[in-house]
Symmetry: C2
Subunit: 300 residues, 2 copies
């Protein structure tokens, strides 16, 4: 097998598009696919292959699936025009959406029944790292699945955590990460607005807390959006009812009580109900501000 | 005024003792005071002044108060044997406990009525940083209070955040920091044990999450205690019902709703009710483990 691989990237959203670019830059041939044809056309103009993916599916080495959730993943893999039945034996599916571990195990089983490898490979890092090939990937799967995906992982990831030989472990770690990330964003919003009631300006909050024991990766990343009054979505509110919902579904199946996660989820749901679903997730601060009559930077 | 100052450190617990050592190392004369006479004797044997503090109170330049809470602070300053009435005009009180902002304002007012400066100066960083003179201090007070405390601040702090000319702002920022720190510890415990239900070992949790977007300062500091099964108290469970209680009292006064903080507080209260009050605060993970039938490292 030449090192130059034939790669399909299905889902050219903010993460998938950047990943597809990174795979191209890695020297591979890349077929981009999306329900949005403008994105497909744009990717082709930047070096993507021009043929329809359906026509070359049997030659594809790696299929990266970078869609929103489990349902879309299943449709793309096994739906009416699903790609798995057309793949050659030994090809690998790199499944990047945040999904329940049990779903990942089921997809892996169905792929393996057709001789297709499956790497449970949720991603972390955001659009900028996707585009620069510097994602963190929480991956689990058979050694054969890792081998088959190695060249593409090299192209898209700065760091691959190898979490075992069974699909599901990667998704479990991603769920753990999302639990923390979601709670930390909502807690940042709670603390920042609480500080405002005590006369602490948001910029002072960021300046001081980012150097103290109360800091978090999410606080340092998201609180500046509030300081700047800029809610252009780098990652949107709507991610969190979905991802924390997955966390709580998994928790429920395991008879595990996650009260802090549930309380954070309530804040994101309240933000979505305020019509902020497609705003940057730092806009969860507006839930607190509205309740307490506070005026955030950039609001009048 | 010579740069060699006469400094009282009242409260020789894990923070105060280290601070007193740092002030000594800064070249100052230091009188240590504590209800525990063994600690006083030990500090004297390490270079502290041998005279009773009461006998030299009128010569003291700086009084650092490193007790547990507002009540103890008030007792030390204005109680039956309180030190403020014996201080010379121009001396400064460096008030380091976590207290409500309104309490700090009241103490400042009462000190100023006697010509004594008051620096609202809660500390952050833990016992190791206290001992090495590398604390972070969230300070507010008059320029005269900052000037009078400057030499001692130099000796104990790596970083002094100057938060304005009014006592209370320092305590407000400390409350904000404690809100975040407390929630982050409890959330780490929730996420770590949730991960265990999905087969993620605590050491894998730390290894992966500390390099991902879900990390926090507290997670990186406390989760290793769980991995090692070592609950020797670096900072105890009992801190949190106190500090998060202060946060919620302030919030209530401001008509501010802090649901995530309240939910985290419940976990620390549950830990205290399990008899873990004097264990390291990472032991809050045992609340989750007990509910879910999980066995943490070091437990049998």
């Amino acid at each position: 097998m030449s090192n130059r691989q034939k790669v399909a990237v299905i889902g050219l959203g903010s993460m998938g598009y950047g990943m597809a670019q990174s795979v191209l830059r890695g020297g591979h041939r890349v077929w981009g696919s999306d329900i949005n044809q403008d994105r497909v056309a744009r990717f082709r103009s930047e070096g993507g292959e021009a043929e329809e993916l359906e026509l070359v599916a049997s030659e594809i080495d790696v299929v990266a699936v970078v869609v929103l959730n489990a349902q879309q993943t299943e449709t793309v893999l096994f739906g009416e025009n699903g790609i798995v039945p057309r793949l050659r034996a030994g090809a690998v599916v790199l499944a990047c959406a945040t999904v329940p571990p049990a779903f990942a195990r089921e997809m892996a089983k169905r792929c393996e029944q057709r001789g297709v490898h499956y790497l449970d490979a949720p991603i972390s890092g955001g659009a900028a790292k996707a585009a620069s090939g510097a994602l963190s990937i929480m991956a689990s799967g058979t050694p054969e699945a890792f081998d088959a995906a190695a060249a593409v992982l090299d192209a898209i990831a700065e760091r691959v955590f190898e979490l075992g030989h069974t699909a599901g472990a990667g998704s479990a770690m991603k769920a753990v990460n999302q639990l923390l990330a979601g709670v930390h964003i909502a807690t940042m919003a709670e603390a920042l607005t609480f500080g405002m009631t005590q006369g602490i300006q948001p910029e002072t909050f960021v300046e001081v807390i980012s150097k103290c024991a109360g800091t978090s990766w999410m606080l340092e990343n998201r609180a500046p959006h509030i300081v700047e009054g800029d809610y252009t979505p780098r990652s949107s509110i709507n991610i969190w009812p979905k991802d924390l919902g997955i966390v709580l579904d998994i928790a429920k199946s395991a008879d595990f009580d996650a009260p802090i996660t549930a309380t954070a989820l309530d804040q994101f749901k309240a933000a979505a109900e305020m019509g902020l679903g497609w705003d940057d997730d730092a806009a969860v601060a507006k839930v607190y501000a509205r309740k307490s009559g506070l005026t955030l930077p950039g609001e009048s």
